[in-house]
Symmetry: C2
């Protein structure tokens, strides 16, 4: 199983990178929209500090999540699919074992 | 001089509290406007993290500044005047010595 995770052909690397960037762009763009929407309702200092807390949490989450590392990439993909930022079929051109592993992980 | 800072009649306390709250409301309302305006220009993740850094700094600054403590209130007032959140004439009903001290501090 370790082989599946550590051996990435150039073609697979390109597919993985594209999928990773797609998920990243989708999540960032949803987050930007969310912050814009929240900012319309800003009235009091408490709202600003709530926004600040929200951004602190998101920054921590995103910085951790989008660490591009092939040894954990199948797990990262499974989580991105579970969170709705990636579709399983966007990984269908990966090697069959990798695809099967990601599919299995999304069902955990 | 210590007496001036520590002795506050009930009337002076009411004047001080009103001035303090006015400054606070002005600064908060300007900050809310500033964050709303910034949020219209949000495009990328970097903009969100810049906003996050800005809110972190403002939170730290405001939490420290609006500590209502009579022993340092004349200094706080002088700083609020220098920053434009309070007008010196809003303190004109304070005891003459206090008013003179704040006026002097704003010129430092």
């Amino acid at each position: 199983m370790q082989d599946i995770e550590n051996k990435w052909t150039e073609v697979e690397q390109a597919i993985a990178q594209e999928a990773f960037e797609k998920a990243y762009k989708r999540e960032v763009s949803a987050l930007v929209e969310q912050v814009r929407a929240r900012s319309h309702g800003l009235l009091a200092l408490e709202d600003l500090w709530n926004l600040h807390d929200f951004l602190s949490a998101k920054r921590h989450e995103i910085d951790g999540k989008y660490d591009y590392d092939y040894s954990v990439l199948l797990f990262v993909f499974a989580n991105l699919i579970k969170d709705g930022w990636l579709h399983l079929d966007e990984l269908k051109s990966l090697n069959q074992d990798k695809f099967a592993k990601v599919a299995a992980l999304t069902r955990l």
